[in-house]
């Protein structure tokens, strides 16, 4: 009942502001403190609240004025977002806000979807990802990807881990074995599977399968690790292991992670970006986002008042 006055107040603000928004949908609301979700949703050119500390980091990926359409439906609106090198960045937001779309745009795996087109650009170490001259396959090799549902290939554990080397034509058994062990150790899976490395990967448990997918992703020593809700299909213990792993991989890899779990974002990430309906609302150090967000919708979402 304590929220009621606030709710009422915001409701009244909406009523009046929606009218102005309807007439000038692209204008930025001046009063950032009183910003509402409806205003964000109505604005095609929303200026994200990006904390200053981000500009002090070296960015490995730089998203610039990025727009994306599925057919005629726009899914991402004018995203500008530097991603800090060697840090863990979490993307949070309600379902359908475009987190996964943004993540999947980074290694262009979205290209496989018919009718998809984009505007703006992304830079990886200063070079464009979406330039015509870019070899998508080479690009993807520089970024490991871990999916929502563990998707080990129907092969042995060994073959799964060295898959990216195999497709490059690596045949040297010594190299493959070394990479396999290093990657499995990196994914904290080596001790559990070292005796059955040539057995089917499909015999592993869900948590092990997901760590295997992480091992597979880091086998090619990528610059960036993209994780699309890596723990959503796992139980709390497996989730804990993956989070510990993310903690270990921090620094060595830049990790961009989509999550629905606020606690996970607060525990595992250095930076958090809050997205809403295809707009990047607020982006800053995780501690600031969780304790002292600049915008009210961020605070509402983080504290569980909506979404």
């Amino acid at each position: 009942m304590g929220t009621n006055p606030v709710m009422d107040k915001s409701m009244t603000t909406t009523e009046s502001d929606l009218n102005t928004a309807a007439t000038t949908s692209v204008t930025q609301p001046d009063d950032r403190d009183q910003l509402t979700l409806e205003q964000i949703a109505a604005c095609d050119n929303f200026k994200s609240e990006i904390h200053d500390s981000l500009y002090q980091e070296t960015s490995i990926i730089n998203v610039k004025d990025f727009n994306l359409w599925y057919g005629t439906k726009q899914a991402l609106f004018n995203i500008n977002m530097p991603i800090a090198e060697g840090q863990v960045t979490a993307l949070v937001g309600p379902s359908g806000c475009g987190k996964s779309t943004l993540l999947r745009s980074v290694n262009r795996i979205n290209d496989l979807i018919d009718g998809l087109h984009i505007g703006g650009d992304m830079l990886l170490n200063g070079t464009s990802i979406y330039d015509k001259s870019v070899d998508v396959i080479e690009l993807r090799k520089r970024m490991g990807m871990v999916f929502q549902k563990p998707n080990p290939f129907p092969m042995s554990i060994f073959e799964n881990v060295v898959y990216s080397l195999r497709i490059d034509g690596e045949r040297n058994k010594g190299v493959l074995e070394e990479v396999c062990e290093r990657s499995l150790r990196g994914a904290a899976l080596w001790d559990e599977v070292k005796d059955r490395i040539h057995e089917s990967a499909l015999g592993l448990s869900g948590g092990q399968q997901q760590r295997l997918c992480i091992a597979r992703a880091i086998a090619a020593e990528p610059e960036v690790l993209l994780m699309d809700e890596p723990c959503s299909a796992l139980d709390p213990i497996a989730t804990g292991k993956i989070e510990d792993l993310v903690e270990e991989l921090r620094g060595e890899y830049t990790i961009l992670m989509v999550t629905h779990n606020m606690q996970q974002a607060s525990r595992a990430s250095n930076y958090t970006a809050f997205m809403y309906l295809g707009r990047l609302v607020e982006y800053g150090p995780t501690r600031d986002i969780f304790t002292n967000p600049h915008l009210r919708p961020t605070e509402d979402y983080i504290s569980g008042r909506f979404g």
Binding site: L112, P154, R216
Partner: protein, 591 residues
């Protein structure tokens, strides 16, 4: 919100009974509603679906049972029965079947009064048996009907013997004497039979040897001549009549012909020697009617005193006939002997067809499913492929004959086998063209099931592979195809089953009644894809509808059908085993 809060305060005011009463009434109403609709319970649908399955299963089981029973008893030896008719005519042979029928009025009126009364008491029905009396060379017929009212009685003569011959069909009679070099060495049935047992094996061995000489040695020599003649003709076509090459080839041909003629003479001598040795042994048989017939031992494939056989003898005879059926060549216009060339042709054709259709089908469906962008064009192609499965198979046969045999084969003949024209080499029906025609026929099956298998590969697998930096082809080859392999195998199984059972198109593109040579043999280049071949399905058709001795061929129709079903089932089991092995690799664990 306020109303729901107030309600509990009001309830105590209402009498308990009223609430309870209304509750139970509601419950009753709900119960009644459920009971009123039979469909709501789902029972009728259970019966309808189950009934559908039962009808299908009963039909399949009935067909299979008919084929298995009829096919399995064909080779079981039956007793030889001697019937004596009222006019003292004697028929001796095996009873093949019986039926009840209504005799025609004319026949009926000529019968004695007591028989007429019997038949009339039976509402005009009479019983008769069909007796296989054989001895076609003496009587010009294989079968006789024996009506019960016309028969005095039947006996089982002890020495009634069934003789299967190389020609003229079966002979039924009693052994009378045995001749060696025209001299009687035994003159009782028992002694003659003992002599037969003594000499028959060695005589048959010589007979096989003679056939081998005729087939292989003479064949080899005539191939030499043919080869030389073709070379001569090629030289003529290439270099002209007055060229040195032609003259050289001509000289070569003459030399080889002379050589071969010498070889021919030698082989013929050997054959004559074998024949002369075999002709020394003659078995004299006496038919039930008292006619004598002298049979050369070489002519006798198998003979047995049917009424003296014990169970063991019957079983060994049964197995020996099955073995002959599976391993030997047909004789007697296919109605006797074996079907080995047909088994061979069927299996070879089906395997070649599978080898052709599976890669083509997989490639086509890979393009359709993985590379092509969905659109009206692709939908049209897909509909066209599905409709291809509905085209009558004879149309494929016509297409195969017109395109493969005449256009493609004719062109190959023009280019590579000019010397043997106007005799076609590839320009006529043959194993390769039949396999290609059936591959075309079964292509939709493979494409449809492969496409389904490809579509069933989870998108997450593909994404995982792309995420690792794999190209499209690498993803298809390493992830998609292995996962889809069991589905591809299912398509191959269906295609094989369809292809092996198909007859109509084969009649046009290469299946023949009797193929002189197998399509795969020991003569270079070993696989003769241009040769016509025998096929079990065509064999069934030929036996059932083209045979002169239809009644004798009928059991063979069932046996051959049984064999064809067994072969198809065996090929399918093999493919299913292969699929299960593939599938075991991809068992997914649940978590």
């Amino acid at each position: 919100m306020s109303t729901t809060l107030k309600e509990p305060q009001n309830t105590p005011a209402l009498p308990r009974e009223i609430i309870r009463g209304s509750m139970s009434a509601r419950k009753k109403a709900r119960g009644n509603r459920g009971g009123r609709s039979l469909l709501a319970k789902g029972e009728p649908m259970l019966w309808l679906t189950g009934g559908g399955l039962v009808v299908a299963v009963v039909m399949i089981i009935a067909l299979l049972t008919l084929v298995i029973i009829q096919g399995a008893v064909t080779f079981w030896p039956k007793p030889v029965v001697q019937f004596t008719l009222k006019d003292n005519t004697i028929y001796m042979g095996e009873v093949t079947r019986d039926d009840t029928y209504k005799p025609e009025p004319g026949v009926l009126n000529s019968l004695p009064a007591d028989v007429q009364a019997d038949i009339a008491a039976n509402e005009g029905w009479a019983h008769r048996e069909l007796v296989r009396t054989g001895n076609f060379d003496l009587t010009n017929t294989h079968f006789h009907w024996v009506e019960d009212f016309n028969s005095q009685g039947q006996t089982l003569p002890k020495w009634a013997t069934v003789i299967e011959r190389n020609s003229w069909g079966r002979f039924y009679g009693m052994p009378k004497s045995f001749l060696i070099d025209g001299k009687v060495v035994a003159d009782t049935p028992q002694a003659a039979w003992a002599e037969y047992i003594k000499y028959h094996d060695e005589v048959r061995e010589r007979w096989h040897e003679r056939r081998g000489l005729e087939k292989h040695d003479i064949g080899r020599e005539s191939r030499k001549v043919d080869h030389a003649r073709l070379e001569m003709k090629s030289a003529l076509l290439e270099h002209g009549k007055d060229s040195a090459e032609y003259r050289e080839a001509q000289a070569n041909y003459d030399a080889i012909e002379a050589q071969v003629n010498v070889a021919y003479a030698r082989i013929r001598e050997e054959i004559n020697a074998l024949n002369a040795e075999n002709d020394r042994y003659q078995l004299v048989m006496e038919t039930a009617q008292g006619q004598e017939k002298q049979l050369g031992l070489a002519e006798i494939v198998r003979a047995y005193p049917a009424n003296q056989l014990g169970l063991g003898g019957k079983i060994s005879l049964y197995l020996s006939r099955w073995w002959e059926f599976l391993s030997d060549e047909p004789r007697e216009a296919n109605s006797e002997g074996g079907v080995f060339p047909a088994i061979f042709g069927t299996v070879a054709m089906t395997l070649i067809m599978s080898v052709l259709v599976v890669p083509f089908g997989v490639l086509a469906s890979l393009y359709l499913r993985e590379y092509a962008k969905a659109g009206p064009m692709i939908s049209a192609v897909r509909i066209a492929i599905n409709n291809l499965a509905g085209v009558p198979s004879i149309v494929f046969g016509v297409f195969g004959l017109g395109f493969f045999c005449y256009v493609v084969g004719g062109t190959i003949d023009e280019v590579f086998f000019k010397a043997s024209l106007p005799n076609p080499t590839f320009g006529t029906g043959g194993l390769l063209w039949a396999a290609l025609t059936l591959a075309l026929l079964t292509l939709p099956v493979v494409i449809v099931s492969t496409e389904e298998a490809l579509a069933a590969v989870p998108g997450s697998m593909r994404e995982g592979s792309y995420g690792c930096g794999a190209s499209k082809w690498q993803t298809i080859r390493r992830i998609v195809l292995p996962r889809a392999m069991p589905g591809v195998m299912t398509g191959a199984i269906l295609a094989m089953a369809r292809g092996a059972g198909e007859v109509a198109p084969l009649m046009l593109v290469g299946a023949v009644k009797l193929a002189p040579e197998l399509p795969i043999d020991g003569v270079y280049p070993f696989l003769h894809a241009q040769r016509s071949f025998m096929h079990l399905g065509f064999h069934v058709y030929d036996l059932g509808f083209q045979s002169q001795n239809a009644e004798a061929a009928k059991p063979m129709v069932f046996t051959t059908t049984l064999l064809l079903i067994c072969i198809v089932a065996f090929l399918n089991l093999f493919a299913i085993w292969l699929r299960a092995r593939l599938r075991r690799k991809f068992v997914s664990s649940q978590f």
